[in-house]
């Protein structure tokens, strides 16, 4: 049975009501809290280490897998290895949020290592939301690693977002587009506030013929928080890659964006753009002419930016 805190976090990080629909694995304070398999999607616990294997049958269409993690025990440290095997031609949505409720003075931490093996012509949409809450002095720490291997014609869209309340995060994303015609879109939204710290590193290898990658990072750093964003894209074949980092900086926050592109093939075409700045005064003013207060205008701009 899930308590109200767990239910609330599940709704925030995985848009779930209760145990949701489709294939589901809910992990709470290091334990399996709920699991449901479907005809085409089978979730099994690993036997050699903590974590699960998610096997999606070839040709599975329009199905979803939810594997949210909830930490409510103060001072609890959790580490999990989840491997996804997406069969040829499948078309699925995977939701893997994590929320920490920490009311203690000890740090709570979840490190999730997700590895995806995406089969030929499979299509995956992966949504990951991170969130922290609780009144304790203990930090809420989330360190996700996401590793993807894409076969021929595979397509993955990663939508990751840090909503609020995560004190410390080190994110690492690695994508290998090794199959011809494979492509990845990575959308990362990150909000830090207070004295939170966030580091996001990415390695995207476009080694297959005619592969594509698009990295879109949007971040907002408020108060005295600090962010470092370090996406690296390497083109080792005929390919196209585009990295776009936009950050809004507020208060006394600090943001570093260091996009790196490496072309190792004459037909590799890679672009990067990075922009960091405060909210433009004219944007606030425009929304004020539409009847919003300055605070409401700022909130509206941030909502849109991090959508």
């Amino acid at each position: 049975m899930l308590n109200e805190i767990q239910k609330n976090i599940l709704a925030i990080v995985a848009d779930m009501k209760g145990t949701g629909e489709g294939a589901v694995n809910i992990r709470s304070d290091g334990q399996k809290a709920f699991r449901r398999n479907t005809e085409h999607i089978v979730i099994e616990s690993k036997t050699d280490k903590d974590g699960i294997d998610i096997r999606i049958a070839p040709g599975t269409k329009d199905e979803s897998v939810h594997i949210p993690v909830v930490l409510t025990k103060g001072g609890f440290k959790d580490m999990v290895y989840n491997d996804f095997f997406v069969g040829e031609g499948a078309d699925v949505t995977i939701v893997a949020g994590c929320g920490i409720h920490n009311c203690s003075d000890c740090d709570s931490q979840h490190d999730g290592i997700h590895t995806f093996y995406v089969g030929k012509n499979a299509k995956v949409k992966y949504i990951e939301k991170h969130y922290g809450e609780g009144e304790g002095e203990g930090k809420r720490i989330l360190n996700p690693q996401t590793v993807l291997y894409l076969e021929e014609g595979a397509s993955v869209t990663l939508e990751t977002s840090q909503i609020r309340g995560v004190d410390d995060t080190k994110r690492y994303t690695k994508v290998e587009c090794r199959g011809a015609g494979s492509e990845v879109i990575i959308r990362e939204n990150l909000l830090t506030h207070g004295d939170q710290k966030a580091v996001s590193e990415m390695d995207v290898f476009l080694s297959g013929f005619d592969t594509k990658a698009q990295v879109i990072s949007r971040s907002v750093a408020q108060d005295a928080s600090a962010q470092i964003f370090y996406p690296r894209v390497s083109g080792d074949n005929k390919c196209f890659g585009h990295v776009q980092c936009d950050a809004i900086i507020m208060g006394s926050a600090k943001v570093r964006a260091i996009p790196e592109i490496s072309c190792n093939h004459v037909d590799a075409s890679l672009i990067h753009e990075a922009a960091i700045g405060r909210i433009a005064g004219e944007q606030i003013m425009k929304l004020m002419t539409l009847g919003l207060t300055a605070e409401q205008a700022e909130q509206k701009i941030l909502e849109g930016f991090l959508r």
Partner: protein
């Protein structure tokens, strides 16, 4: 009714202060269509921005429907029924055209209503309603969306700063029809800064601003010939304190 009394606006410059507006007094009656025109740098935009509250005047006062709004914020003026279309509107990454129209209307608009406003500014609604108001749109498209937000606000006083700037001829024709329609239906008081003959000819009254002051005001028939004469001679006889 909008009443501007002895309005002045002075800014710091390299060689001391610069008077942008000097003792400007004028009245705009309800439901009138008034065009403010004049040479570049004459103070037109500053005047419009002062009415909206974007610039704080250094002297004089502004009354709207009998209330002194001189010290009110932009938000408070917007909430009292004044809206403003920027000459160079900002873009918003991640904000959709529909979102901006909803903010303007102060409520979730129906799809049809939102599309109506876009149609009024010459945009094919279906193509734009779900687009982001960002760099993917041209200057002319952003400008027309800006005007649509002012229309969606349904304010008592609509101020437009050079609505024609950056807009193609076909869209401009649609836009002038929209202004005419608002005026004919007496939906709002319209104050437009413009240099466009087609807009000027719609006006009930033209106010000529030059060198920070009202140089002339009157009907189209009274003022427009003087403007034409000025452009022919290349010398503004309407400018205050200037000898040609």
């Amino acid at each position: 009714m909008l009443e501007i009394k002895h309005l002045s606006y002075r800014v710091d410059g390299e060689d001391g202060g610069v008077d942008i507006l000097r003792d400007v007094s004028l009245t705009v009656e309800d439901k009138k269509f008034v065009v403010v025109t004049g040479p570049n740098g004459g103070g037109k935009t500053s005047l419009a921005r002062a009415v909206m509250g974007i610039y704080q005047p250094t002297g004089g006062s502004i009354f709207w429907n009998g209330e002194d709004i001189t010290r009110l914020s932009v938000t408070e003026r917007a909430q009292r029924g004044i809206s403003y279309g920027f000459q160079q509107p900002p873009r918003f990454k991640g904000m959709k055209v529909r979102d901006l129209l909803n903010v303007a209307a102060g409520k979730e608009m129906s799809h049809d209503s939102a599309c109506d406003y876009l149609t009024k500014v010459g945009l094919c609604a279906r193509d734009y309603i779900d687009r982001d108001v960002d760099a993917s749109l041209s200057g002319g498209e952003v400008k027309r969306i800006e005007i649509a937000t002012v229309l969606a606000r349904r304010s008592e006083l609509m101020i437009f700063d050079e609505p024609e700037a950056g807009i193609d001829l076909w869209s401009f024709a649609r836009l002038t029809d929209t202004f005419q329609e608002i005026h004919d239906k007496k939906e709002a008081t319209i104050l437009i800064i413009s240099h466009q003959e087609r807009i000027i000819r719609l006006a009930d009254e033209i106010i000529l601003i030059a060198n920070g002051a009202v140089a002339a005001r009157g009907s189209v028939e009274e003022i427009y010939p003087k403007i034409i004469a000025d452009t022919v001679t290349g010398c503004s006889r309407l400018e205050v304190d200037r000898k040609c």
